[in-house]
């Protein structure tokens, strides 16, 4: 306890000192990230050259990587921080809310305002999220699942790329009924998802008018999950399942089984959450079925609209934070700002010259190894790589995510609503499965809504109306 007071005093003194111009002594910066480990030579080299680049710009920093296992990362990080061992620059993947609540994380907005590169590198959803919760920075494109299918199967159906809901149904029907995997049985399913219908919602929400978490009803805001729009969408899912186009066993299908079904031909279409994931699917599909490419489809036009599901901007779920107790905030932010610069982006996104990419006659070419390189810090919105190595479906994925971006009106709930949130979510998921599997007919929708309200939905709606009416 005594030691902590010293820490506080020291932090105060150092904060004052930080206002002084860069010292000649290198500043020691402690950085912890799930993606950076001392035992990975690539990570160490990456950090070394960042140090060198910063030094060349006049900021002397010595970056010390704090090693935390990536399995169980959130638990270990929480334990460390609670014990008082707080690095300067911290990557969070869960567990940040409680810590932010105690004022241990720095508000990043003023820093970003004064930044040289970072403020222009943000994605639209980053700005929205920072406004609501200014402690985490995660400059990466949004993840919104989109459907992929084997290109050869798609071409065999002879159908055009699906644009409407009916098109999707026709495509999935063709796949389900044609014996494309050649095993003598028409047992291929159209579409599957992993454990919940959330992936499907990504492309079907807007088609049915489920445009946000809270929709305007006749009496005020209502939760989308109990809206008439949702009912129509769930009826659609139930119809898909009935026709064999939606795998009813999605509920017990974990992500690895989902992929297995796709590669082995049990299912024709799955959803990939990001461009990188699409490329992973593509690579594996090529390995299992040589020569087979993937094709990505746009979300369908439905009776109420079209697009990808609204993006939750209440807060970043993961990202970089700077400790408010740190004496090296300037240095920490300098690192982040540098990574947003073109020079930093080349390092973070393209890897090492001679390893992941080479420059021949002024032209940049990527090697095979680029497929295994990943950005450790950020993918700036305003910097594109000099050469494109993402496959066409992956590029389309990225393009769609920007083109169809719409912000959601979900917000962060105070902890006293946690039990209600959990209970209503369980009611929702349980009933969705009952409807989709046919155990309950859609005529029981009102029974479901009543159950939802009774499980705490009324309390949630009341609070939501207060919050949303205030901001609308």
């Amino acid at each position: 306890m005594f030691g902590r007071r010293i820490l506080m005093a020291g932090a105060a003194v150092l904060s004052l000192a930080a206002g002084l111009p860069a010292l000649a002594e290198p500043v020691k910066l402690r950085l912890v990230s799930k993606d950076l480990s001392l035992s990975n030579p690539q990570d160490v080299a990456h950090v070394d050259r960042i140090e060198a680049a910063l030094a060349a710009r006049g900021t002397e920093v010595e970056i010390e990587i704090v090693d935390v296992a990536s399995s169980g990362y959130a638990d270990k990080l929480t334990a460390m921080i609670l014990a008082g061992d707080i690095p300067d620059l911290i990557y969070f993947q869960g567990g940040d809310a409680k810590i932010a609540e105690q004022g241990v994380l720095e508000d990043l907005r003023p820093w970003i305002e004064k930044s040289e590169f970072l403020k222009d590198a943000l994605h639209p959803h980053n700005r929205d999220r920072l406004e609501n919760y200014p402690y985490l920075l995660y400059v990466f494109p949004v993840r919104n699942p989109q459907p992929v299918m084997r290109k050869d199967w798609f071409e065999r159906t002879g159908l055009p790329a699906p644009q409407t809901l009916d098109d999707y149904v026709a495509l999935l029907t063709a796949v389900a009924q044609g014996d494309y995997d050649g095993n003598g049985k028409a047992d291929t399913l159209g579409l599957t998802a992993a454990e919940t219908t959330a992936e499907l919602d990504a492309i079907f929400n807007r088609a049915f008018g489920v445009d946000a978490s809270w929709l305007k009803g006749p009496e005020g805001f209502i939760n989308a999950r109990v809206s008439p729009q949702e009912r129509d969408k769930i009826a659609f899912y139930a119809m898909l399942r009935e026709k064999g186009l939606l795998d009813v066993e999605y509920i017990t299908t974990k992500w690895d089984v989902k992929e297995d079904k796709f590669y082995s031909g049990r299912v024709g279409m799955i959803l990939g959450s990001s461009a990188e994931v699409v490329d992973i699917y593509g690579g594996k599909m090529r390995q299992v079925h040589p020569g087979v490419e993937l094709v990505l489809f746009d979300p369908p036009q439905g009776p109420a609209g079209r697009g990808l599901a609204a993006v939750d901007v209440s807060k970043e779920s993961r990202g970089f934070a700077i400790s408010a107790l740190s004496g090296n905030k300037e240095a920490a932010f300098a690192v982040l700002d540098f990574m947003a610069s073109p020079e930093g982006q080349v390092m973070d996104r393209m890897g090492f010259e001679g390893e992941e990419y080479v420059t021949k006659d002024g032209k940049v070419e990527v090697t095979d190894k680029i497929a295994t390189w990943y950005a450790r810090f950020m993918v700036a919105a305003n910097w594109t790589t000099p050469v494109q190595w993402l496959s066409p479906p992956a590029q389309q994925h990225l393009a769609n995510v920007s083109a169809f971006y719409v912000a959601d009106n979900a917000f962060v709930w105070p902890p006293e609503y946690a039990a209600d949130l959990d209970a209503t979510t369980n009611v929702y998921r349980e009933w969705v499965f009952k409807f989709v599997s046919g155990e309950a007919g859609m005529d029981q929708w009102d029974a479901y809504v009543a159950a939802w309200n009774a499980a705490g939905g009324e309390r949630l709606t009341a609070h939501a109306r207060e919050v949303l009416d205030a901001t609308n």
């Binding site: 306890m1 902590r4 506080m8 929480t78 921080i81 609670l82 008082g84 707080i86 869960g94 567990g95 940040d96 809310a97 409680k98 810590i99 609540e101 105690q102 004022g103 241990v104 047992d187 454990e195 919940t196 009813v248 066993e249 509920i251 017990t252 974990k254 089984v257 107790l325 902890p415 006293e416 946690a418 039990a419 949130l421 959990d422 209970a423 369980n426 998921r429 349980e430 969705v432 499965f433 009952k434 599997s437 499980a455």
Partner: protein, 292 residues
């Protein structure tokens, strides 16, 4: 008195120190259950707030009921199986055959629940799982066990049996081997059949072990296996197999309230202790031996 007993205390010393430092010191640290945790001191006393939150939730009572039902089912159906396996194994002549069986049945214990869940989900799949294939041969309709609210608890029971029966039987086998062989010789001379020997020699011989394990299991009554439930759970059946630990874990994930987890732990602990005492007294009455 100490002259007589000090050697024993000397032998127990390392163990006692261990318990003091690594079990009781942390319990003292667990006073955070009553406090809001702050990194920047001081810890603010928040009192019973966490307990209130726990008991006020309507879901908590459902979850408590689930926990108790599942534990009861496990005690009734899972607990006896290793005993039976050990008894059967004991009937097989010692030798390579018996060794092979022993070397095989403990293997499932080594698989994590992630892997086991994958195996059971695949085996129980209504479309191509082996169980439903067999049902098909018998002329029965396929049944989706994993999404069936009535069946899912049995899935927990059976998967637990599969995983642990072979491994736990080892303990009972060791207990059987500790029985005085002269008792068997005497029974043999009296012309006892295999089953009579089992009833009159073997079972009484391992009753203390059974009783002890029963009492220990009673203490864990409110702690059905977290990993098992998480991996075998899905939206359709969650309401039936959600246990205290999974519920607290989920809420904790959402809010970062690990103090909630500590209060739940305290609640389970107090009740567990009461159950141990109750089981102990019951066992003393039935078998003459408790846990001490």
């Amino acid at each position: 008195m100490w002259r007589q007993w000090w050697p024993y205390y000397a032998m127990m010393a390392p163990g006692l120190i261990f318990f003091a430092v690594f079990h009781y010191l942390p319990i003292w640290e667990a006073k955070i259950a009553f406090q809001q945790v702050r990194i920047i001191p001081p810890n603010i006393w928040v009192g019973w707030k966490h307990f209130e939150t726990l008991f006020a939730s309507s879901v908590f009572w459902q979850v408590l009921a689930n926990t108790m039902i599942i534990s009861a089912m496990k005690i009734a159906f899972v607990f006896p199986v290793p005993i039976i396996v050990a008894l059967l194994l004991n009937e097989v002549r010692s030798g390579p055959f018996r060794k092979s069986i022993q070397s095989a049945i403990y293997l499932p214990h080594f698989l994590s629940w992630v892997v086991i869940a994958g195996i059971f989900i695949a085996a129980l799949s209504p479309s191509d799982g082996v169980v439903n294939e067999v049902r098909g041969y018998l002329g029965l309709e396929p049944r989706s066990y994993m999404t069936d609210q009535g069946a899912i608890r049995w899935v927990l029971v059976f998967s637990e049996i599969w995983r642990s029966a072979g491994w736990d039987s080892l303990l009972y086998l060791a207990a059987i081997l500790a029985i005085d062989p002269q008792l068997y010789d005497a029974a043999e001379m009296d012309g006892a059949t295999r089953w009579q020997k089992m009833r009159h020699v073997t079972l009484p011989g391992i009753t203390p072990t059974i009783a002890t394990l029963f009492i220990l299991n009673a203490g864990m009554f409110l702690s059905a296996d977290l990993n098992q439930v998480i991996n075998l759970s899905n939206d359709a059946v969650r309401s039936q197999i959600d246990i205290i630990d999974t519920y607290v874990y989920r809420i904790g994930l959402q809010t970062g309230e690990f103090s909630l987890a500590t209060s739940a732990g305290l609640f389970k602990g107090i009740l567990g202790m009461l159950l141990i005492v109750a089981a102990h007294k019951l066992s003393k009455r039935l078998t003459g031996k408790g846990v001490w």
